[in-house]
């Protein structure tokens, strides 16, 4: 959640700053309204949005699949059956590393079906990955012969 806040700030602040400056330059007096609005927007985005996003972000393991639910405005649900998992990466950005977090990236054969599990504690990442891989192996083993080929 901290990561999101920092990351959000990284691109939102310059964007809104540019918007404000151009607004002042172009619109003169009325431009200050835009500045005020963008400040308000910035505060919302910084204070409220990451928290809301964090509260709405959840994932869990069912019998068949890895399930995800996320999104504040656009709500998304995804299901990645263990049987279809092709690859699991542990990804860490610089801020992730600072905070001791990692993202698990679960890849299927479909280019668009990849999902990420962000904000997992460093110590847990290998365990969760092993768990997912074990379940994937179990699922593949349950389908004999030709069936075990997911693509």
């Amino acid at each position: 959640m901290q990561v999101w806040r920092v990351f959000g700030a990284l691109w939102q602040v310059p964007l809104l700053a540019v918007a404000s400056v151009t607004a002042v330059l172009v619109l003169g007096r009325a431009g200050w309204l835009v500045v005020a609005l963008s400040m308000a927007l910035l505060v919302t985005l910084l204070v409220w949005y990451p928290g809301a996003r964090f509260r709405r972000w959840r994932w869990w393991l069912s019998d068949l699949a890895l399930l995800l639910e996320r999104g504040v405005l656009v709500r998304q649900r995804s299901a990645v059956p263990y049987f279809r998992i092709q690859q699991i990466d542990v990804v860490q950005g610089p801020i992730d590393r600072l905070l001791g977090l990692a993202t698990l990236q679960v890849t299927t054969a479909s280019a668009s079906g990849t999902v990420g599990l962000p904000g997992i504690a460093n110590a847990d990442a290998p365990t969760i990955r092993a768990e997912l891989l074990w379940r994937a192996a179990q699922a593949v083993a349950a389908h004999p012969g030709e069936l075990s080929d997911a693509v």
Partner: protein, 517 residues
């Protein structure tokens, strides 16, 4: 992995010339050529000669160092002059095999063999360019046999290890190819361009053009001056000529590409052959079909035709290499689908979407109309060049037109899910029905933005491998969407692969766990 087989076969020596990659050559040539032009006439010849010599030596070495071999299970390729690469390709992983014959290669009885596996890289996995046609066909058949054995060895379908019989599935007659090119998407854009062009010419350049034409004619034939119709006739003639040229080009291109289009069932594979001068023959294993799309634009709908595109998970999404049936009568679609998607009788009964979805399509179309209208009005008011007064009115006329299109799109919206296949239909002018076998669904997801949530709508996506893209069920009811997500997840987690039966056998739908729809 079995022990290493021999890797001692070579490409045909002609590949020294025919294997040249045109794009690379041009890229490599551009800089020396520009430099040569700058340096003067003689330098160009020298540079070309040096380049040619170097290229010839390089190609010869490359040919000498390119070897391949197939031991019945693994296709091995070793290549590279300076950096060597060794590749081994398990035959069970093959997605698609193609024999491609350019016009020159055909003259000399040669062919290029292309093997694709699943993977998102846009490069073809193995390309043997060029080998004698007989070798290419032999190797293709060997690959097929190897695959049949690899699959059969694991407990199924060992009934055809010998020479598999060929059964014709579909032939597209030449006149259908012609109709396909005339009604193709490329040409449908054309009337629009001509319309806009007509508008533009008529309103902006009309006056000066007419003046000039009149002047010209005045100078040529005295006595016929001031005839106001001449300019119009010239413009009209130009437009008709362009149209005719476009139609002729489209037909020629279409016929060259798709003449003799034929699909055959060979064992468990689909064999697709097409092309007039440069021919192409692709083999798509039925088990590798990821997605099938039925395309019907408005013109083809009027005539009762459709185009069908078959996607495997082969790496390259190159439009030229996809298997597309250019045109077939609508009543035969189900027959073809039954052939391409094992265990599927045809397009399943599609469920219509809730009326709220109409508000979404209407919103999207009207948003576009408003955007176009707004930009038209802005251009009309502020543009430095004269925009004719009729433009804003035309933009305004788009609103009712787009509203009608929104209703059409809503009418076309539909989806279906059976134990075998998931299907979705979208589009207003060009209606596309996408079908994916549920055993090929890799993952599933839903999403809904605030507006959709208020309307109780949801988008369901069945993620499919390969460059063909996903099956997207747009704007179905929330409850239904959740239900679809659950079913799709179950299907993806517990695949029941339908047996690929010999042809003409009606395959019933066996009970599958968790299916109640």
């Amino acid at each position: 992995m079995p022990s290493d087989g021999p890797v001692d076969r070579r490409l045909h020596p002609a590949s020294i010339l025919l294997g040249i990659d045109l794009r690379q050559t041009i890229q490599a040539l551009i800089f020396p050529l520009v430099a040569g032009f700058a340096a003067g006439g003689r330098a160009i010849l020298v540079i070309l000669a040096v380049f040619g010599a170097v290229a010839l030596v390089g190609r010869t070495l490359a040919w000498q160092r390119f070897t391949f071999g197939f031991d019945g299970e693994v296709l091995r390729v070793e290549e590279g002059v300076l950096s060597r690469s060794h590749r081994a390709l398990d035959v069970a992983r093959v997605q698609q095999v193609e024999i491609d014959r350019g016009a020159v290669a055909r003259l000399f009885g040669l062919a290029a063999l292309r093997v694709e596996t699943a993977g998102s890289s846009s490069e073809v996995e193995v390309e043997l360019r060029v080998i004698p046609l007989a070798d290419a066909e032999a190797l293709r058949d060997e690959l097929r046999r190897g695959k049949a054995q690899a699959v059969g060895g694991e407990g199924e379908s060992d009934h055809e290890v010998g020479a598999p019989e060929r059964q014709p599935v579909l032939e597209v007659p030449l006149r259908h190819v012609v109709v396909a090119s005339v009604t193709g998407a490329r040409l449908l854009v054309f009337p629009a361009i001509v319309g806009v062009g007509l508008q533009f010419v008529g309103e902006t350049f009309w006056a000066p053009f007419a003046d000039r034409a009149e002047d010209l004619i005045e100078g040529l034939v005295v006595g016929r001056t001031g005839l106001p119709g001449i300019g119009w006739q010239v413009v009209l003639l130009g437009i008709v000529a362009t149209l005719v040229a476009a139609v002729v080009t489209a037909v020629v291109v279409g016929v060259l590409r798709d003449a003799g289009f034929r699909i055959e069932r060979v064992g468990d594979d689909l064999n697709v052959t097409r092309g007039l001068l440069s021919s192409r023959s692709s083999v798509v294993p039925l088990r590798r079909v990821q997605k099938v799309e039925v395309h019907r634009n408005w013109l083809r709908r009027l005539l009762g035709f459709a185009a069908v595109r078959v996607h495997s998970a082969g790496g390259s999404g190159d439009a030229d290499r996809r298997v597309t049936v250019p045109l077939l009568p609508e009543r035969t679609i189900d027959e073809l689908l039954a052939e391409v998607l094992p265990g599927v009788a045809g397009i399943p009964a599609l469920t219509a979407h809730p009326p709220a979805a109409l508000r979404r399509t209407m919103f999207r179309w009207l948003r576009q109309a408003v955007l176009i209208g707004a930009s038209a009005i802005i251009a009309w008011r502020y543009a430095p060049f004269g925009v004719p007064d009729v433009v804003p009115w035309l933009a305004g006329a788009l609103v009712p037109l787009f509203a009608v299109l929104a209703v059409v799109e809503y009418r076309q919206l539909g989806h279906g899910l059976t134990a075998r296949v998931v299907a979705a239909r979208t589009g207003a002018l060009s209606v596309v029905t996408s079908l994916a076998p549920v055993v090929k669904v890799q993952a599933a997801s839903t999403r809904a933005n605030p507006l959709q949530r208020r309307l109780g709508l949801i988008i369901v996506v069945a993620h499919v491998a390969g460059p063909g893209g996903d099956v997207v069920i747009a704007d179905t009811g929330t409850e239904r969407g959740r239900w679809l997500l659950e079913r799709l997840t179950e299907h993806a987690a517990e695949p029941v692969v339908p047996e690929v039966r010999p042809r003409m056998l009606v395959v019933g739908e066996p009970p599958s766990p968790g299916d109640d729809g």
